[in-house]
């Protein structure tokens, strides 16, 4: 039931390791795939000698890019541009780019053989920083424009030149007029690093051919997109590609779009045997990451604290191939306006090719980078103006019906409410620090986040003759509890037990189309689709029961999995009995959700989001001035939830987001040395654990009984974390950090440099 504290479906299997993760799947005769990767950031392939690899016992196939070109297969893939070769063709563009793939009877033999390959590369000048890549002298990664993939019609492609992969432009009002009206103009630059998703389950896929048909079991968040990408590669009708998605061990955006499936499928095609690829952790670090970003904000304010103009220049480091960067710069671009009423906005954001591994979707989707910048700057400006930082926010927060930077009026605005709720953490003064070296500070932040718009979700429900139900959707369960929420919604709509509802895992042969399991959309979007399924089945049940009872539909009551004539409980007949008596075998119903919207390619005006995610965070920190080490001791996260489907899982989503954010605020960053990742392991790459949980950790889910909209909660409490902690650090010790992560050393150096 909606609002019930239902235990996550499959949680016992998950914690006892009995889920059929892709990594556990191994059809008879499976060959294991290992990749040999480039150790040069940018270079031409001079020669590849694979003879030693063939000498390793158990090797069945060794594939190079050159050989790939001779096959009747499209050698490149990518969701927006088909620019990423399955294996490097003629040139490598980042350290870690796959150059040779080996299929062997054991994973060890494949690894050993891949290591035996002799690759000769002629290094070319390389560039790693997004802004450096825009200079005239920078080497250009893709001199020829890549072909556009089908789909993603909503993505505006413009500004491509040199290393610009895509550019997003937003013009709202007249920026010159805005700066004219400003009493003060403040400009600040904020940086955030490339990050690893760190799903416990690495990227993995098992692929095989059944005749002409390609079957792929893979840990993906986008089953239909992977199907379409593989069908295009193998020039097959989409009916000849079947994508199966068992539950995932985490995704966080890193498992959107084809990643490891293409190379495994090519080897399956060549060998006509099942192939399995499972990336090692260091390889996973090279397979999708958060965009490193530099954002410059120029904000004009009046003396009484009203924002009148905001100019944004944002550079997102896309890495060597486009992946979903062309869309991400849109979201990351308009997000920089924040949840504020600003009459004049001018935004340009760029996705820029460089010689590091391609970045992609990452929980927060550009909004984390944006919020880090604008919520830090809000405190900086408030301080300059001498206005309380909460009051400064309140004067500018969007109110109901006011226009966001994209021009669309914001409905359901509750920014004031979430901020006020979070700030109840500060009702009492802070406890004193443990000693004279430790300082205590408080900070807050509030953010706006869109959900992917337009998007589509479809569902089919089957009600069986024993009263049980199956729901076919392409929503991926990755530990976030989406399937539990969908089961609750269906159970609620039909008045049956959650246990009677089985949500099937995606199978593109049978489960209908869904855009993606990402963007915090599944509970809202697929939830709407399955609500329609429940409604449709309910109508059918009532109609059949009316025929069977020889009564009118309006005289029937439906509850607890059965139908009866009102006032006559003896007539009660279970759903199963009704289905059986109808001789239909099963009842089926469809449901769909479709949102509409889109932005004008010239000025970024239009509809960016079907509804808005709104969150705030209050943080209290301790800073040890001897070491620069920060301890987050109290947090309160508040999100607007509309209607909560499952209070336990909703709370856990918010807790997870906040801890995810805390880790990014203080510790995380992929370190590069001339394009080489120096910390691709969980010892050197630092991640927060249970030891970092604050002493006080409050989660508040604001609901509105008048608002049936279920708001996704997968990301809302993430972008708030870094700026709130930065603001609290500043409150504690007067030091402002503008680059993430806020490591102890960085803070120590800033403290030492203080006058």
């Amino acid at each position: 039931m909606i609002g019930a504290r239902t235990t996550t479906k499959g949680s016992l299997e998950r914690v006892t390791g009995r889920i059929g993760f892709v990594t556990n799947l191994e059809p008879v005769g499976t060959l294991h795939v290992a990749l040999r990767r480039s150790d040069v950031a940018h270079g031409d392939i001079r020669s590849i000698d694979v003879s030693a690899a063939w000498d390793v016992p158990g090797v069945v196939e060794v594939l190079t890019g050159e050989r790939l070109l001779s096959l009747p297969i499209e050698p490149r893939f990518g969701p927006v541009f088909r620019d990423q070769p399955v294996l490097a063709i003629d040139r490598v563009r980042y350290i870690g780019e796959p150059v040779v793939a080996v299929a062997a009877t054991t994973a060890e033999a494949a690894r050993r053989a891949a290591d035996q390959v002799d690759i000769e590369l002629e290094p070319l000048p390389a560039v790693f920083d997004a802004r450096a890549a825009l200079e005239d002298t920078a080497p250009v990664l893709h001199p020829e424009p890549a072909s556009r993939a089908e789909g993603f019609a909503d993505i505006i492609v413009k500004g491509q030149a040199g290393n610009i992969c895509n550019k997003f432009t937003l013009r709202h009002g007249d920026i010159a007029e805005g700066f004219e009206a400003a009493d003060e103009i403040y400009e600040h630059e904020f940086r955030s690093p490339s990050l690893h998703h760190l799903a416990m389950e690495p990227h993995a896929a098992v692929t095989w051919f059944e005749g002409e048909r390609l079957i792929v079991a893979t840990g993906t968040q986008t089953p239909y997109n992977v199907r379409d990408a593989l069908a295009a590669m193998f020039r097959l009708p989409v009916t000849d590609v079947r994508v199966l998605v068992p539950p995932l061990g985490g995704g966080f955006g890193g498992k959107t779009y084809a990643k490891v499936e293409p190379v495994a499928a090519v080897l399956a095609w060549l060998t006509q045997r099942p192939t399995k690829i499972v990336l090692a952790r260091d390889e996973d670090f090279l397979t999708g990451s958060k965009h490193e970003a530099t954002i410059v904000l120029r904000t004009g304010v009046t003396r009484d604290g009203l924002i009148v103009a905001k100019q944004v220049r944002a550079w997102f480091n896309a890495g060597a191939y486009a992946d979903i960067s062309p869309r991400l710069v849109k979201n990351g671009g308009y997000a920089c306006a924040g949840p504020y009423r600003i009459p004049h906005v001018d935004i340009e954001s760029f996705a820029v090719y460089t010689n590091i591994a391609p970045a992609g979707a990452f929980r927060g989707y550009g909004v984390s980078q944006a919020a880090w910048a604008y919520e830090s700057q809000m405190d900086l400006i408030a301080q300059e103006l001498g206005i309380d930082r909460v009051e400064f926010r309140r004067r500018n927060l969007l109110q109901e019906g006011e226009a966001f930077a994209t021009g669309e009026p914001v409905h359901g605005a509750r920014f004031d409410a979430v901020l006020s709720d979070a700030l109840t953490l500060f009702d009492d003064p802070p406890a004193p620090p443990p000693n004279e070296h430790v300082k205590v500070g408080r900070g807050c932040s509030v953010i706006i986040k869109s959900t992917i718009t337009p998007s589509t979700s479809n569902a089919i429900g089957k009600l069986n003759a024993d009263g049980s139900m199956q729901i076919l959707t392409s929503t991926v369960e990755m530990g976030q509890g989406a399937h539990t929420a969908l089961a609750q919604i269906v159970a609620d709509g039909l008045g049956i037990s959650v246990d009677a509802v089985r949500i099937l895992t995606p199978d593109t042969d049978t489960s209908p189309y869904d855009t993606t399991t990402s963007s915090s959309r599944s509970t809202a979007a697929m939830g709407a689709a399955v609500t329609e399924v429940a409604t449709g089945l309910r109508e059918q049940l009532l109609k059949l029961a009316a025929e069977q009872f020889e009564a009118d539909v309006q005289d029937l009551t439906i509850d607890d999995g059965s139908v009866a004539i009102a006032g006559d409980p003896d007539t009660r007949r279970s759903f199963g009995e009704i289905v059986t008596a109808s001789r239909r075998g099963t009842l089926t119903a469809e449901g769909k959700f479709m949102s509409t919207g889109g932005l004008d390619p010239e000025n970024g005006q239009g509809v960016a989001s079907d509804h808005w995610h709104q969150g705030a965070l209050a943080a209290e920190v301790e800073v040890d001035t001897r070491t620069g080490k920060v301890k987050v001791r109290r947090l309160r996260a508040t999100v607007y939830a509309g209607t909560v489907v499952n209070p336990v899982n909703a709370r856990m989503q918010v807790e997870g987001s906040v801890l995810f954010g805390l880790s990014q605020a203080l510790y995380e960053g992929i370190d590069h040395d001339a394009g080489f990742v120096t910390n691709p392991n969980l010892s050197d790459y630092a991640v927060a654990g249970m030891g970092e949980l604050p002493e006080v950790f409050e989660v508040s889910l604001l609901e509105d009984p008048e608002d049936p909209q279920m708001h996704g909660l997968g990301e809302t409490a993430l972008p708030v974390v870094s700026p709130a902690i930065a603001n609290a650090i500043h409150d504690a010790v007067g030091v402002r950090l503008q680059s993430l992560p806020m490591s102890a050393e960085m803070l120590f150096d800033a403290l030492t440099a203080q006058p």
């Binding site: 510790y667 102890a744 050393e745």
Partner: protein
């Protein structure tokens, strides 16, 4: 390409020494395996012969030998941590071991393996070096005793010869060291490896004058840092915060810190000063515990 390793499971120390004498540099002792497996997986350690010594009863356990405490080389860290003798005689070591890695690791890793690895950011060597501990190294037909200060050379490098086996670690009469403390600084999260650690012991006479000061810093230089010359300059003094700061500054000057993901050389040198002061203050206060900073 590596051939399969040959794994030996000898039943007696003499058999280990025999194997070492035969295979020498082609052999690797496997103690608790917590370090070996990591290095092997990375391809950094691929010996032809692996000699498993963890189960050898002769190398297990903690005993008193007069006033000295002797730790069998194959005693697991967890067993040392919980040992009644260690808790009574070496409370700082017991406390430090409780902060090492996690229970699973401490239930596998051994004292000898920990020292022989030569990991410069490992915690136990800080306390053992400060306490003037000595390792007993045996080869076929002979045995020698090496102060730990001479055991550690550099990053993952020790003076243990290819044909030698560490049989025990002897901590000479800890009573003369006075009271101590260990302060472990983590620059990042609570499960991180140590950035810097300082073990300090101070003994004073009835008048409060310092009779001995022992201080070892790990995580800074490629080997544990101990400077007897700096320590001895404090003998006879009534130690106060100014004296502690003086010691700390001298250690920081003497340090040649490494740079890694846990902090730069400059940062380590800077943090070393308050860290050492804290360790010395706690030692003087009779703390006898280990804490995380």
């Amino acid at each position: 390409m590596t051939d399969a390793m040959q794994v030996h499971r000898p039943n007696a120390v003499d058999d280990v020494l025999e194997l070492l004498a035969t295979h020498g540099e082609d052999a690797q002792i496997l103690a608790g395996g917590t370090a070996f497996t990591l290095f092997h997986k990375l391809g950094l350690l691929t010996p032809e012969h692996v000699i498993a010594t963890r189960g050898l009863a002769e190398l297990q356990g903690v005993r008193m030998d007069g006033p000295d405490v002797v730790l069998g080389a194959m005693t697991r860290l967890r067993d040392v941590e919980l040992d009644p003798i260690v808790r009574r005689e070496l409370p700082v070591l017991a406390g430090t071991l409780a902060l090492v890695a996690n229970l699973r690791i401490r239930n596998a890793a051994t004292v000898g393996g920990n020292l022989a690895e030569g990991d410069p950011s490992s915690d136990p060597p800080a306390v053992l070096v400060a306490l003037d501990a000595r390792a007993t190294l045996r080869r076929r037909g002979s045995e020698r005793t090496v102060p730990l200060t001479e055991l550690f050379v550099s990053f993952l490098e020790t003076t243990i010869a290819d044909d030698e086996l560490m049989v025990d670690v002897r901590v000479p009469d800890p009573g003369v060291c006075g009271h101590g403390s260990y302060v472990k600084f983590l620059s990042r999260h609570a499960e991180d490896r140590t950035c810097l650690g300082a073990a300090a012991f101070i003994a004073e006479d009835a008048s409060g004058a310092c009779t001995s000061l022992r201080l070892c810093v790990i995580g800074s230089d490629p080997a544990p840092l101990r400077r007897p010359d700096i320590e001895q300059s404090m003998i006879g003094r009534h130690l106060d915060d100014a004296a502690f700061r003086d010691v700390a500054m001298q250690y920081a000057d003497a340090a040649r810190p490494v740079t890694d993901h846990r902090g730069s050389a400059d940062y380590r040198r800077s943090v070393m000063v308050p860290l050492v002061v804290e360790a010395l203050q706690r030692a003087k206060a009779g703390d006898d515990t280990a804490v995380i900073w």
